[in-house]
Symmetry: C2
Subunit: 333 residues, 2 copies
């Protein structure tokens, strides 16, 4: 970016947080100097590549920025940690439109404010495609982080909220490019699920307090993410398909969008709900607490079994098939 | 990267640091959990875009990785901070060569070990070009960080080491694609300056202890970076061209490479030496300390003047011209 970079940095700095109590030296220096976190330091990075993670033809820049921050905050939430500081690196393809960039940062600022995150610096460059690279620092009480690797035989498998809504929203956005978007309630719900995913920061702390033995966020869909949790914990899992919390709006969208609700709930990504394992007796208490404090549901979708049994799906009739290799396909219609 | 990502993450994890005393939860989870830093937290990010910041046709991946880490560590050094943890995000253009990626991480690991930095996580994606995005967390004693904004009227302007060597090394590498590289000592020196820039971590602490009022690293060359320091401090500067520490090997390279040593020292980037301001009486002591502890020289290249006087260059005959607008060009031969 060279000389243009200084002017763009100045424009961006106006959108972002200035120095405050926690920020000793902010944007515009070689590095940011901030108040240290209390407890342990939690670090996570996320890349958002044009054409891979977002489509600038479908999504306005404010939405792209908002989603990126929420998605990266979700990584910290998955450890039961809270966000504190963020660095934003942005590679821009020419021609650089300052208005687009300022809107992008505006969306990031909106999500950052929502999650108590302060954006303190970053880098800019030109590139052949637009790439947003975020890195966050957060905090968690010593020893309180929940990894993917602690699931134990007999633990219950739980999921917050509902699944598939974001994938439904993306399908809707793509369909809407050909036909006008439906004004129906289900369409608004799906669009919102895609545009504004919620990072479950407080919800994760409730699950941690309830004794969660492992936790992760569902970024790539249950069918991809559950095997990762199982590998990290050296266990297998049994999922009851009828218990999967399919986003209600997907049933209304089934015919107009030509989508398969259960498939989107299992294989669609970008929901950012929490997948966790809880000891047998801990589910009901966690569910009550989540509902009371956040109005968020908790579905018990299965349990942890021995590694040698693999990762299996059970349909309403008790028929089983491997989930990992798309076993749920057998149950489609 | 989807499914291939898990395999690549496993390959990369073998090159990187495993969990240790400071790393409670490392690579492969949603986020890394580490021991907090002591003092204040210092955060910096850097982008390295193929075709902008590196040329994969000239540089092997190990060198690209090494340089990227050293360059980002230099941002922390410029605040008088020490590096602790790093996150690495990597967008790769297809076809992804696992060997190239492992070598890239090998180079990053080498530099990380040298600077006491632990790489704890990151992200991977595919893209149209290869982009490396680093984010580092470091530490500095409370109140001890040196920003760009504290330079005061009458302060001496100092530079560590020598300038222009890295730009000379790049010119040499480009020339060597047409003709075989020279085996001369000057050629080895320039190549080394480009391939393995040194982040001045310890040197910055010496300058801070000596009372540095402002500091930054020279990443884009004196002609671009000095104006940034002056803007941040609301001052002007007067640079004596004869005092600029031109990398000695550039004089030997002048004819064979057809380069202008003074021009490269002023306008060539990527040296990562420190530019700082010191109170009048502090230069000699800082110079002795830097030489004794690190074998690094300190050149006094000018002083801080009033903002209205601008940023000016003075040649050996006392003739002045604005440095900011390429004023040194008048003095070229």
């Amino acid at each position: 970016m060279d000389d243009g970079e200084d002017a763009l940095v100045a424009a961006i700095a106006r959108v972002l947080s200035g120095p405050g109590d926690a920020v000793r030296i902010g944007i515009g220096d070689d590095a940011a100097v901030v108040e240290p976190v209390s407890g342990e330091l939690v670090l996570a990075a996320d890349l958002f590549v044009e054409g891979v993670h977002f489509d600038a033809a479908i999504s306005p820049p404010r939405e792209i920025g908002y989603r990126a921050v929420a998605v990266n905050v979700s990584d910290l939430a998955a450890m039961a940690a809270s966000p504190r500081y963020g660095l934003v690196s942005l590679a821009l393809r020419p021609p650089v439109e300052a208005g687009w960039v300022v809107e992008l940062f505006g969306g990031m600022r909106e999500a950052a404010d929502e999650y108590g995150l302060t954006l303190v610096g970053g880098d800019l460059s030109r590139a052949q495609e637009t790439i947003l690279s975020l890195a966050l620092a957060g905090e968690v009480a010593p020893g309180a982080a929940i990894s993917r690797s602690g699931a134990r035989l007999g633990d219950r498998l739980v999921v917050t909220g509902s699944l598939g809504g974001s994938a439904g929203g993306l399908a809707l956005a793509r369909a809407a490019r050909a036909a006008p978007a439906a004004g129906e309630a289900w369409a608004r719900e799906l669009a919102e699920a895609y545009r504004r995913p919620a990072a479950r920061v407080g919800e994760a702390r409730v699950l941690a307090s309830a004794g969660a033995t492992s936790m992760m966020d569902l970024s790539d869909g249950l069918a991809r993410d559950l095997p990762r949790l199982c590998r990290a914990s050296t266990v297998g899992a049994r999922v009851r398909l009828a218990s999967i919390p399919v986003a209600p709006a997907l049933w209304a969208a089934e015919i107009p969008l030509g989508i398969d609700p259960l498939r989107l709930a299992i294989a669609g990504g970008d929901d950012y709900e929490l997948l966790a394992t809880l000891p047998v007796g801990a589910v009901d208490g966690a569910r009550r607490e989540l509902r009371a404090r956040y109005g968020v549901s908790l579905a018990e979708i299965g349990d942890i079994i021995d590694e040698v049994e693999g990762i299996i799906a059970i349909d309403a009739d008790g028929v089983t098939a491997p989930l990992e290799r798309g076993g749920w396909d057998h149950f489609d219609g």
